[in-house]
Structure formats: structure tokens, C-alpha cells
């Protein structure tokens, strides 16, 4: 288990849980549901926000939000 904010560029994982109800609802509505593969595509020049790729959709997430998103790394 890792926080989304700790992922390396190119690293993938499976969405496990979100520790903030508001953020969780927002992600859910955009189709980011538990069990989906999330890949950290890139970081912005100041390392915040980050861009994640979820089912062909690129999302910009602020680092403070990424810390609340828990990811299961695939090969664990």
C-alpha cells in the first residue's frame, strides 16, 4: 500500500481507498472507482500538482489530495 503522492513517474497501482469523503465522491463521479489502475504519468515542474492516468483519462491532482488516495501496488 502506498499513497498516490509517493508513486514514481510511470509507476502503476490499483485504487484501494480515498481518505476524504468529498474527494472520494469527486473521483468516483469522474469514473475513478476502486479497483481501477492508476498510473502516475508526470509531475508538474514544481512537483505539484501531479497528472495521473486512469482508464484513458488524464487527471490533474494536487499533492495534498494525492496524499489521501491509497494505492495498492500491483506486484505486492
Amino acid at each position: 500500500m502506498k499513497k498516490l503522492s509517493e508513486l514514481q513517474i510511470g509507476e502503476k497501482g490499483i485504487l484501494s481507498s480515498v481518505e476524504d469523503d468529498f474527494l472520494e465522491q469527486q473521483l468516483l463521479e469522474m469514473g475513478v472507482t476502486p479497483g481501477q489502475v492508476i498510473e502516475l504519468e508526470r509531475k508538474s515542474p514544481f512537483k505539484d500538482p501531479i497528472a495521473i492516468l486512469v482508464s484513458n483519462l488524464l487527471l490533474s491532482v494536487r499533492l495534498s489530495d494525492a496524499e489521501k488516495i491509497i494505492i495498492q501496488i500491483e506486484n505486492e
Binding site: 469523503d21 468529498f22 474527494l23 472520494e24 465522491q25 469527486q26 473521483l27 468516483l28 463521479e29 469522474m30 469514473g31 472507482t33 476502486p34 504519468e41 508526470r42 508538474s44 515542474p45 514544481f46 512537483k47 505539484d48 500538482p49 497528472a51 492516468l53 482508464s55 484513458n56 483519462l57 488524464l58 487527471l59 490533474s60 491532482v61 494536487r62 489530495d65
Partner: protein
């Protein structure tokens, strides 16, 4: 045969092509109105569905679901969930981006489960097919129990089929996700209380969504959810997850292998450049350079046309209409005001042409991505950068462009600080004062001092804007949670029609909404400067009839005795600590219309023939302090005056636009007060130190 009108709502995710479809359906038959009490624009339009059937289409703000989190989304929810709402549609059209169908289906299935008549329009099915996504639209239609049509909004393809389908659509045959499987007792009880058999509507109202409930029902529902231990936030999350499971089952039956990698690779390669730590910012600077060129230089030519056209027209009216007060009111009050409004049109058009173009390509989301961190520290966000920097050309279009900021707090802060940026209207004021104070040949090392001072004032405006934003971050309290997870759409070639419609819409909004206020203030200013207590003007005309230069001396003396002159004189004690006298006082009042009027008023009041900069400069330089007889425009007075113009809100168009954009007088008045105090204090301090 009488014609019939049916109400249609157009809904869908952001970036789904919704606005393009709206434009294709309605063309120029569209208006922008207001939803009562909020700052979201209401776009409506009409089109013909059939020979005698018209459609009234409402373009709802982009939304992902019926659970609102932002004001924009709340609008969609209010209309779609409330059968008594005036805009409640007979048919809803959901537009979906075929290459991202999954997330479009959340909103769609919610609407289906509300048992509303709905049509799904799959946009750009052909494009997604090229990318390897194969959607069987007949199976999809069968699974969803609603009609599904394929369209290409840009190319106007499939629109007739969509219209025919709208006419034929009936209430959905299926329920996609039955919420009563999650909360059987709760929903049954809720249905009883509401007296309606609509499970999903009951669920949404239990989640404290604003639905069509009278207050007795509302209280009963609240009691019910307390008794059942119902947690709205958790329940919504559970419901969304379950709904997506149903959606995934449906998609598995009708969508081919998702191998949309060609497009992503293309987008990723461009992003490697445009989001690069060095190249990304360089490219952004280049874009800014073009935006600046456009609002500063390219719009100059059409602005001159408008200016000259109005001057010509005013002269024509002045000479061809019977002389008198009415003539003067039309020429110097109304036409001057109209000219003052029209002059902004080129700048608005150019800025929004760029913004619509960049937004449509997908680049604006990237700008936000690379600037968000820097601006966040100042209470702004990545979307604030374009309004903020455009403010250096003109605050009016800049404030209008703050629309793209979805967090209302950050948007408000942006609107508040934009007028502090030194706009192009301050340029003539700065130029005049600088050229008076500093010799053209003065240099400091290899730099021209005049240029350095000018740059310092531009920088000062920028710093003031950032510091003000920083302070406001702590002052403005907003309960609404920000919306920070943002889609970064794939790059696409922009649609020129979207650009054109955006320009038309923005220009119309400015002319009609802000224009009214600007005309009203113009007329007030005209009254103040063209009326005087009875007999005062006659006395001046007799007294100065035979002096040399009567044609320049008389207007000057008349302005002095007019009501504006009287106000200018009466505020002298207040502005004396800044080094100003009543003559500047009058100019401050008249230039409230627009800053550049300062130069014209100064030339009238100092009875300068002609208004070219050279003669004004000479005249002002030789102006004497009326009390001491020494040179009036000292460096202290010059700096104080420039600081005053740098910070004060001397622009009625900005006030009118802030009123329009914040939908009320609260913010424009606070802003006016703040900027006046800031201007006064900084001029006072500068003058005290320098003199």
C-alpha cells in the same frame, strides 16, 4: 396550425462537445441570461425540430453527476431534479464523448432512473472508431432502454436524426440501478412520505438534495433518515460505486477492446514538450506574448476606427442637429458613453478569440497545471494566470475571462485584484507625467530612465495585485469546497465556430449588461461638467468674450464653475495632502469615466489649444502653484499622481463588469473603496516623503 414548443435540456460532462452541439443546433438563435441569485450564465436557444414544432434548448453547465459540488453543477441538478422548475425539460439530451463513454454514463443512468425522457447522443463515434474503440450503439440502446444516436456536432452530422429521435422518445423502459436494493425500507418509506413512486428521486431528496418537496415532507424525510441511521455522504459513495458496476456490465456487452493508445501517445509526446520544466514555461511566455500583442497592438487599429467613427458621427450630429442642451446631451453624454463602450469591443474579441482557441485545443488545462503551485500561494489558482496577465492590457475582458475558474473563492480573488494591474488606459497618464518629470535623455547606465520608471509602475501594479490576493486568501470565507481534481483533455484541433460563438457571446454580454451602467454614469458625468449654478456660464462668456484665445479659455473657465468644477474645488482640502489642487481634483472626477480622459480634462482646464501630448506637456510644465507661484508639477506631485492612477479604480467599465460578473453591488463597491484607500494612502506617503 398553431406551432408547438418543447423544452429540451442539453447536459453532459465538461469537454464532451456539449457547447459545440448547442451551437450547431441553435446557430445564432441563442441568448445568455441569468439564473436568479447566482453567477452562472444561463444559455438558451431555439431551433426547429419539425415543420411546426420548435425546441427551446437550454445548455446546462457541464457536470459529471446529479450530486452537485460546485455552483455550476448545482444549476444542472436544480433544473433536472425539480419538476416545478420553469426550465424543467420535456426531453433531456445527454451528449457523450465516444472515446470516454464510461464516465458519461453516470449522469445518463441517473437521468434514466429518474424516469425522464432522455436521448443519448454519441459524439464523434467515427473518431473513436479510428482510435480502436468500437461501440455497438444498437446494443447500447437495447441495454440502456433509451434511444442512442450517433452525431458529429462539429460537422453537423446526425443532427436531423437527433431531432427526429427527440420527437419520438418515450419514458425509459428500464431501471439501470435500483437504489431500493441498497435501502429497501428507507426508499419505500420515503416514497410514501413524498407520495410519489420514484425511487431515485426519493433517494436524491434523502441525500438532502434540493428536490421538489414542501417543507412538511422535507422534515418528515429528515426524521426518517435519522431513524434509519442514513448517512448521505457514505450512501452516495456506495451508490456511485454500485452504479458504475452496472455501467461496466453494460459496456462489456457493447464496447470493443479499448486500445486508444494512438491518441494518448500523441498527446503524451506533446505534453513532454509543453509541460517541460523549461520549455513548457518558454512556450507559455510565447503564448502570452501573442495574447499581449493582440490586445495591445492588433486591437489598436480597430479601436482607432471605432474612435474615429464615433468622432465623425459626433461631429456630424453636433453640426446637423438643432443646437442646444439636447444636442449636447446626445453628443457629449450618450454618444461619448457609447463610444467609450464600443472601444472595448476589439480587446474583448481578441482576448476571447485566444482564450476560446487555447481552451478548445486543450492547452488551457496545461497552463493551469504548470502554474497552479505558484499561484496557489497567493490564493489564486492556475486558471487565474490568463485573467491576471490580461489585466495588464485591459481589466474589462480580463475580469470576464475569470469565468473559467471553477472555485468561486479563487475566482472572486482574481476579479478583485485584476484592476490593480496597470492597464493600457493608464499608459497615456503615465506617459504624460513621466515625460513632464524626467528628461527624455536621462539615462541610468545603458537604460533610459523614462522607460525604467514606466516599468517600475507596471511591476508595482503586479506586486500590489499579488499581495492583495495573498491577504484576501485569509479574509474571504467560502464554505464551498474547491474543485481541484481536473481533467486534462487530449489535444485536438480547435473548432473555429466555437471561437466565433465565444467572441459573439462575450461581446454581447459586455455591450448589453455592462453597457447600461456605463451609459448611465456617462450621463451623470456629462450633467456634472455641463451644468453650473444659474447664470455662471453666461457670466464667463461675457467676461472672457474678448480675451485672446477665447475659444480655449472659455471652456476652461466654464469647466471651473460647473458642478464638476465645484466638486473638484470642494475636495481640494482632501487631496491637498497628496500634493493635488482643485484642477487635478476636477480631472480625477471626469476621468472616473476612463483614466485616459485625465489627459483631455487636463488640457481643457489648463486651457491648452489642441490635445497633442507635446502642447499639453509644455503647458503643464509651465503651470504654477496657485499659492506659492512656484512650479506646480514637481517630482513629488508627479509620483504622487502616478501612484494615485496606478491604484485607484478610475474606470466605470471595470465597475460595471465586476457588477455583471459577481451579480451584485457588494464586490464592486468593496473594490472601489479598497482601491481608493490604497491609492490615497500610497500617494499620501509618497508625497510626504518626497516633498
Amino acid at each position: 396550425m398553431s406551432s408547438k414548443t418543447i423544452k429540451i435540456a442539453l447536459a453532459g460532462n465538461p469537454n464532451s462537445g456539449k457547447s459545440t452541439l448547442f451551437n450547431s443546433l441553435t446557430g445564432l438563435n441563442q441568448q445568455v441570461g441569468n439564473y436568479p441569485g447566482i453567477t452562472v450564465d444561463k444559455k438558451t436557444g431555439t431551433c426547429n425540430l419539425f415543420s411546426d414544432i420548435k425546441a427551446e434548448i437550454i445548455d446546462l453547465p457541464g457536470t459529471y453527476s446529479l450530486y452537485p459540488k460546485s455552483l455550476d453543477e448545482k444549476v444542472s441538478q436544480d433544473i433536472l431534479c425539480d419538476i416545478t422548475n420553469l426550465d424543467y425539460p420535456e426531453v433531456t439530451v445527454i451528449i457523450a464523448d465516444s472515446s470516454n463513454l464510461r464516465k458519461s454514463l453516470l449522469l445518463l443512468t441517473q437521468i434514466i432512473d429518474l424516469k425522464m425522457k432522455v436521448v443519448l447522443a454519441l459524439n464523434m463515434l467515427d473518431v473513436s472508431r479510428d482510435l480502436g474503440i468500437v461501440i455497438d450503439k444498437d446494443v447500447l440502446s437495447e441495454e440502456l432502454g433509451i434511444p442512442v444516436v450517433s452525431i458529429n456536432a462539429r460537422k453537423h452530422e446526425g443532427l436531423q436524426n437527433l431531432k427526429d429521435t427527440i420527437l419520438d422518445v418515450s419514458t425509459p423502459k428500464k431501471t439501470i440501478f435500483s437504489v431500493s436494493t441498497l435501502f429497501p425500507v428507507l426508499i419505500a418509506e420515503g416514497n410514501n412520505i413524498r407520495g410519489k413512486e420514484n425511487d431515485y428521486a426519493t433517494f436524491l431528496s434523502l441525500c438532502k438534495q434540493k428536490l421538489n418537496n414542501n417543507s412538511a415532507v422535507k422534515i418528515k424525510l429528515e426524521v426518517l433518515s435519522k431513524d434509519e441511521g442514513f448517512n448521505p455522504t457514505r450512501s452516495l459513495a456506495t451508490e456511485t460505486v454500485r452504479r458504475y458496476k452496472e455501467i461496466d456490465k453494460i459496456l462489456a456487452k457493447c464496447i470493443g477492446e479499448n486500445t486508444a493508445l494512438i491518441k494518448r501517445n500523441f498527446t503524451k509526446r506533446i505534453d513532454d514538450l509543453l509541460l517541460h520544466p523549461v520549455l513548457g514555461y518558454l512556450f507559455f511566455l510565447l503564448v502570452l506574448f501573442f495574447v499581449f500583442q493582440a490586445i495591445f497592438s492588433w486591437s489598436q487599429l480597430p479601436m482607432d476606427w471605432i474612435d474615429n467613427g464615433f468622432s465623425f458621427f459626433r461631429n456630424w450630429v453636433a453640426t446637423n442637429m438643432p443646437q442646444g442642451m439636447l444636442n449636447d446631451l446626445i453628443v457629449n453624454g450618450i454618444l461619448a458613453g457609447l463610444g467609450g463602450i464600443m472601444i472595448f469591443v476589439p480587446q474583448i474579441a481578441f482576448l476571447f478569440a485566444f482564450i476560446a482557441f487555447l481552451e478548445d485545443t486543450g492547452y488551457m488545462a496545461r497552463v493551469s497545471f504548470i502554474t497552479d503551485k505558484i499561484l496557489r500561494g497567493f490564493g489564486l489558482n492556475g486558471r487565474s494566470i490568463i485573467p491576471l496577465l490580461s489585466g495588464a492590457a485591459c481589466a474589462v475582458p480580463a475580469i470576464m475571462s475569470a469565468r473559467t475558474i471553477s472555485s468561486s473563492k479563487e475566482r472572486l480573488i482574481t476579479i478583485f485584484v485584476v484592476p490593480l494591474m496597470s492597464c493600457s488606459a493608464r499608459l497615456p497618464v503615465y506617459t504624460l507625467i513621466i515625460s513632464m518629470m524626467i528628461p527624455e535623455t536621462a539615462s541610468w547606465g545603458m537604460f533610459n530612465v523614462q522607460g525604467l520608471v514606466m516599468m517600475a509602475f507596471y511591476l508595482l501594479g503586479f506586486i500590489a495585485a499579488l499581495l492583495t490576493a495573498f491577504v484576501l486568501k485569509f479574509i474571504i470565507n467560502q464554505k464551498e469546497k474547491g474543485y481541484y481534481v481536473m481533467e486534462i483533455p487530449s489535444y485536438k484541433i480547435p473548432d473555429y465556430k466555437t471561437v466565433i460563438y465565444t467572441i459573439i457571446e462575450k461581446v454581447k454580454v459586455f455591450l448589453f449588461d455592462a453597457g447600461k451602467i456605463i451609459i448611465a454614469i456617462s450621463i451623470v458625468l456629462w450633467v456634472l461638467s455641463s451644468y453650473a449654478p444659474s447664470g455662471a456660464f453666461d457670466r464667463i462668456e461675457q467676461e472672457y468674450a474678448n480675451v485672446e484665445n477665447a475659444e480655449v479659455v472659455i471652456p476652461s473657465k466654464k469647466l471651473e464653475v460647473s458642478y464638476a468644477g465645484m466638486i473638484g474645488k470642494s475636495i481640494e482640502p482632501a487631496i491637498k495632502p497628496l500634493g493635488f489642487d482643485w484642477r487635478i481634483g476636477i480631472s480625477l472626477i471626469t476621468s472616473f469615466a476612463a483614466r485616459e480622459v485625465f489627459v483631455g480634462t487636463m488640457s481643457t482646464i489648463y486651457s491648452v489649444g489642441g490635445t497633442d501630448n507635446y502642447s499639453i506637456k509644455q503647458k503643464l510644465k509651465s503651470a504654477k502653484n496657485l499659492e506659492t507661484g512656484e512650479v506646480f508639477f514637481t517630482t513629488a506631485v508627479g509620483i504622487s499622481l502616478m501612484l494615485f492612477y496606478a491604484f485607484s479604480m478610475q474606470c466605470m467599465s471595470t465597475i460595471a463588469v465586476v457588477y455583471r460578473e459577481t451579480k451584485g453591488w457588494k464586490w464592486p463597491l468593496i473594490q472601489l473603496l479598497y482601491m481608493s484607500v490604497l491609492a490615497y494612502m500610497s500617494s499620501f506617503i509618497a508625497y510626504s516623503i518626497l516633498s
